[in-house]
Amino acid sequence: MNSSFLTCIICFNTLAMSLCLEAQNQSEFKSRWIFDAGHLSRSTVKPVKGWLPGKIEGTTVLGKNPEHFIFDGKTTIMLADDHNQAGLPVDNLYVEAWARVDQPLTYGGLLGAIHDNGDDESGWLLGYQDSAFSFALASQATGRLTYLKVNENFEPERWYHVAATYNGEVMEVYVNGELKAQSKEQSGPILYPTRTWYEIGAYHDSNEYFKMTGGLQEVAIGDKPLTASEIRERFLLKADLFPEPEPKPEPLELRAGPFATWEGEGRVRFRWETKDAGATILTMENERGHRQVYLDETSTQFHEVLVGDLEKDSEYHYTLSSKSEDGSVTSTSPYLFDTTFYYEPVQLERRLQTFPTDNRTTLVETFVDQFIHEQGVTQGYCLILGAEDGRLATELAYRTDMQVMIAESDPVKVGELRKNLDRAQVYGARVSVHHVKKGDSLPYGPYFANFITSESTLYHGSLPDWSASEVYRVLRPCGGVLKIGQSNSGGSIKVNAAMLAEWGREAGPSNLRLSEQKGLWIQALRPALEGAGEWSHQYGGADNSSCSQDEIVQGDLRVLWWGEPGPRPMPDRGPRNPAPLSVNGRLFVQGDRILFGLDAYNGSMLWTLFNPEMRRANLIRDSSNMVASNDHLYLAEAGYCWAIDAQHGTLTRSFRVPLTEELDREYDWSYLAVVGDILIGSAVRSDSRYLGDDGEWYENFSDQETSKIVSESLFAFDRYTGQKLWEYDSNAIINSTITIGDGVIYLIESGNEKIASQLNARIPNELLTDTRLVAIDLEEGTRVWDKPQDFSNCQYMIYMSYANGKLAVTGTDKDKNYHIYAFNTLFSNPESGDSQPTLQIPGTMLWEEKHKEDKGHHSGHLQHPVIIGDTFYSDQRALDLNTGEILRKDLPKRRGCGTMSAGLNSIFFRHYFHSMWDLKSDKRTQFEGIRPGCWLGLIPANGLLLAPESSAGCSCTHSIQTTVSYAPVGAR
């Protein structure tokens, strides 16, 4: 017998024994689950033995080598929400798992049904405590749990076979086949609670729910204890399947980014900055595990990679790495990139020569050239009033990203145009032809057209078939361009100047004007709507009044447009996310680590910007990470504030937190405001922000939810030159109170020195003592005045708003009583009956109001106030800002979470759905079928009510989830 033959026999015998043992042991188990592809579906785990399937509550991710279920710290596998349904062992118990714990927990579970609430202890659990495996069990004899903990730590990310037995007398824990702990504290039948969860991958009872981060390959339970030798055999049976953990690279320290922007479908540019210089490495992995590595050996702190050929509607995980000169590699954790979020219009390729090359070719090409060069409008909607052959529409579709509409009154032409455009492969995809009767009003809603022109006029000089005032109605405010006429490059000008002027005059004396530049034209550049407000900061303006000062939005509203973003890219609705912003005809929406820039008047997606580190939640206790101006959106991310071009989404300038270089500590840019040319920021200790990534609602009273974010300095930059203007150092500025009005920054700061020793800048109420109300000059950064003031009743939250020389501080105490304090900010002589009126110095408290919250549910105790003129709206009440007199207590019912916003004539809120209170008519309107999120999601700005989708994750049956805009009926 040769040796290889002997080896074969041994192998065969070993295999046979293993199979035999497997079969034998399987018969001993009551239930057994193996987490491989054969037993896993999207939402369930089928048992190998027993009948009880596991319901996956979370995300199903299957690891490899060997196949196993990956627990991400949010996912568990529920076997029964009532353990009584599971028929669990009573007298004897054997439970085992092949487990890998990546992040230890104080109380972690692999498999169990446990209840531990004060003296009420029962059930059992195979799990871990901190870094040691443990087995907890309560018998009917003791009524108490014994937590039998192994006296040596496991190594995170290493696979272990963990087994536990109970035979009615002894509890034992085995790790990798060896007995590691034993106890005789329990005896007799197991004591079960009345009802608890029977669950894999969690420690779960009525008041605790700790979920595992790691992996499970197998879990089994039986009602007959295995012997030590059997357990060792169980270990040996699979021990060789599990590899040693891979050595992990050191974490890569990022200074900024990564930012990702589309450069066409499937092409994305990534940019990031590292703390130290090194090579650039980006690894992309698709859903099927296919990896692609992009490498540039050049040592740099500023990294950039263009990735191509990404698949449509797919999720990629990408990792950033860097290699230093000594060869050591550092890497980030994987980030997610979702190619679903591509919203560009259909991209056209010139395939066919549809139109002959003739005079019209030059005419049209020159016109489009000039238009693009002079106006720079390339996105949104174009309206062509009358067309002859469709060349102008085709050229505009090819040369810009606009959707082009042709309104044509001649039905014969309509048919011919459609055929021409179909041949040009643009019909429907980018160009539409609408048959609109001459003399009729145009069938379009107001404001949608970024560009209005006429092919018929360009060719023949004929005037449009619709009145100029009607045409002007559909021209977009804030820069919509109308240009109708004839070019002198196309031969003789046939359009009659007098008639053209006459046509244009009808739209108003100053709206449309004649121009003879390179031809004869009537043209317009529509300005912003008169009376339109803007929503540039979280609560309207830097004054935190939650009022946009918009005069237009009132009365009956009609849907103006709807579209993306929908719920898919948005954060869950609950965690009090940053509000959308709208300035200068644009709308900015913050998704889940993705920013959107939209045209506020037609919903066209102008740009998207991905940044996986961009996230802020619980704005009740913090400030937003973005503000908008006429030309830029400003975004705080890590230690920087980025100026993002409002129209194109490009990063044009960065501002760095001034403290970063000076102290031995990393700081993030926290508060943000823009007033004129000044950009105001604050510095907060890194990693202090709330992320809200675990479905938090931040509704309850606990330090985890109500701790306030505080900044250690405030500073200002010139936002155009980048020059630092001033810096104001503080012990602890409460971010949610920073307010700017009439050239002064107001804030509340705490002088408690204990705050400095806290690990991060989330500061609980008990430390926010020694508070002062402070006024700082906006231009100079110098303290104007300050005043000690007790705000200890503002426990759930503390807000500060400014209007008309008054400050209002709003908070609620732990019993949900509102406390509102109003202060004067200027020297004044209040009118009084006294012959010698008292001079009030700034910071004088004008009035104070206290009441139990009226709403009584869904954030009723967290409402941010609204100030319109001299009226202060808070909770269910309206008060005179000057005197504190209660004007009314009948503010609209507001069922559901969220807080109010306002223009000068209307207040907006959630009452089940999008809702509105018209202040003049007192009419209260619900827009059924669609709801906002759990904080501020409805903004009146630019003469519109803008409602970006913010209800994401609502598994309720609200029938529509979309971004929508409303305009007053009859808007022009």
Partner: protein, 475 residues
């Protein structure tokens, strides 16, 4: 769920009033009940005979649901308002009809060859399949109009706008009507039915149209729900899916609302007898509702269902199964009764436990122990019944064809990721599989041909062919 409903359910679920037996597939999923069933068999081996390729892929109105419900910890939620991922087809007069959300046109192709017979323009995306009826083809468009073309040559016979105004606004990235037609058109008793509108605040118009003239017979405005998803019709009622919400039931005769059914929402729906089955709910559940009630009788895990006499075929992301429906529902009913008893015992037990232990009398202690025993015993019985549930499945197979399902003759056809396959209904055995371009979201079968519509804008025709694959008809 009460016993009366169950018994009625068992009876009615056995019936199958609609069964396409001819060579046509005149509307989305074959008939007004959207059963997805035809008696027409398919040849055992199918080959691609022609392929239509749109220059641009379909542009669905909506993207998917949010990635999770953080507050309730619900993951992998299903899209509840998407109905237009592919160009779904209708078949009549040996012509294949479909509308396009990519180029706003309605197409008629020769069924045998894929040759374009005619096409007509609309002024907005056509998101749902047309309906063929007695020589006419009715199509709804996002431009707010219902078009009636002569099926044979595409001549426009009439068009009707159910909404009172012609108002166009940017919607889902296109300039469309404020009241787009997003229900398709269903025809029953020579009358057409459709819905126009999205936003309840603008009023959503549900209408019955005269098939000859297009004149509105009745119109019903609703101000609480949209109309999105293929409308269904029965002898008495109309069922309008309402996007993420639950379908609205109307009297077919006069358009009066009967009720809004209960459930977890979605635009997929089918009628079987007087039962409405719809979904996919939050995470892939099909609810069963009796037409006379708004209550949900039962729910099944899955994306689609085919109902035949005595059997249901359930289709999920990862599997296909055949269910002995009668037996299954009986067990569910019995188990529910036991669970109700167990719940009552739990409640009583908890009340006793809330008492101060020192004040418990001996009789209370006895009751407490007895209740614990009852709960355990009932748990055992529940377990026992639960263990028998799998026996109701006549067969189950794992398969990766999650996107669509129809039944043709004695075969189930499923659409998957770049593939399509047929399974023997009796055994679940796969008998045929082939590749397609894109995800197969649309299936139709007629006259021995299988039509597969994908999210990349392809319509593949499969049939028995003695010849090699003919040239693809590419637009």
């Amino acid at each position: 769920m009460n016993n009366r409903l169950f018994k009625k359910g068992l009876l009615v679920l056995l019936t199958m009033p609609w069964l396409v037996t001819g060579a046509d597939w005149p509307t989305y999923m074959a008939d007004p009940s959207r059963s997805g069933v035809t008696t027409d068999s398919l040849p055992p081996i199918l080959t691609t005979t022609w392929t239509f390729r749109s220059l641009y892929p379909p542009r669905p109105a909506w993207q998917g649901e949010a990635k999770w419900d953080g507050y309730n910890k619900v993951y992998d939620m299903k899209a509840r308002q998407i109905f237009d991922r592919a160009f779904h087809v209708a078949i009549g007069e040996d012509l294949v009809f479909f509308g396009s959300s990519a180029d706003d046109k309605i197409y008629a192709l020769e069924a045998a060859t894929g040759r374009e017979v005619w096409s007509q323009y609309t002024e907005g995306p056509v998101r749902l399949a047309p309906t063929y009826h007695k020589g006419k083809l009715l199509t709804g468009s996002d431009d707010g109009w219902v078009y009636c073309h002569r099926a044979s040559d595409g001549e426009l016979l009439w068009r009707t706008r159910p909404a009172p105004e012609d108002v166009r606004v940017p919607g889902n990235g296109r300039m469309i009507s404020l009241w787009p037609i997003r229900t398709g058109v269903v025809i029953y008793d020579d009358k057409a039915y459709c819905g126009a509108g999205m936003f309840p605040s603008e009023t959503v118009y549900l209408a019955s149209l005269d098939l000859e003239t297009g004149k509105v017979i009745w119109q019903s405005g609703q101000t609480d729900l949209p109309a999105q998803g293929y409308v269904l019709a029965s002898n008495e009622h109309l069922y309008f899916p309402a996007g993420r919400n639950n379908p609205v039931v109307l009297n077919r005769a006069d358009g009066k609302r009967v009720r809004v059914v209960e459930g977890s929402g979605g635009t997929y729906a089918l009628l079987t007898g007087d039962f409405l089955i719809f979904g996919p709910g939050k995470t892939g559940q099909l609810g069963v509702v009796e037409s006379e009630s708004s209550d949900q009788l039962a729910s099944f895990e899955g994306n689609h269902m085919i109902v035949t006499q005595g059997k249901s075929y359930l289709h999920s992301d990862t599997g296909l199964s055949a269910l002995d429906r009668t037996r299954y529902l009986q067990i569910i009913r019995d188990r529910k009764a036991l669970q109700d008893k167990q719940g009552a015992a739990h409640k009583r037990l908890n009340e006793l436990k809330k008492k101060d232990p020192t004040t418990l009398e001996a009789s209370d202690q006895t009751t407490l122990r007895a209740l614990q025993k009852v709960i355990l015993d009932l748990g055992t019985q529940i377990d026992l019944l639960t263990t028998t549930l799998p026996d109701c499945f006549l067969w189950k197979i794992n398969c990766d064809f999650p996107y669509s399902m129809i039944m043709a003759g004695d075969h189930i056809v499923l659409g998957g990721d770049h593939k399509v396959a047929a399974f023997e209904a009796r055994t679940g055995q796969k008998t045929w599989e082939d590749k397609v371009d894109g995800n197969a979201y649309g299936l139709a079968a007629s006259n021995g041909r299988l039509y597969v519509s994908t999210d990349k804008g392809f319509v593949h025709c499969f049939a028995q062919s003695d010849k090699p694959v003919s040239q693809a008809s590419v637009q």
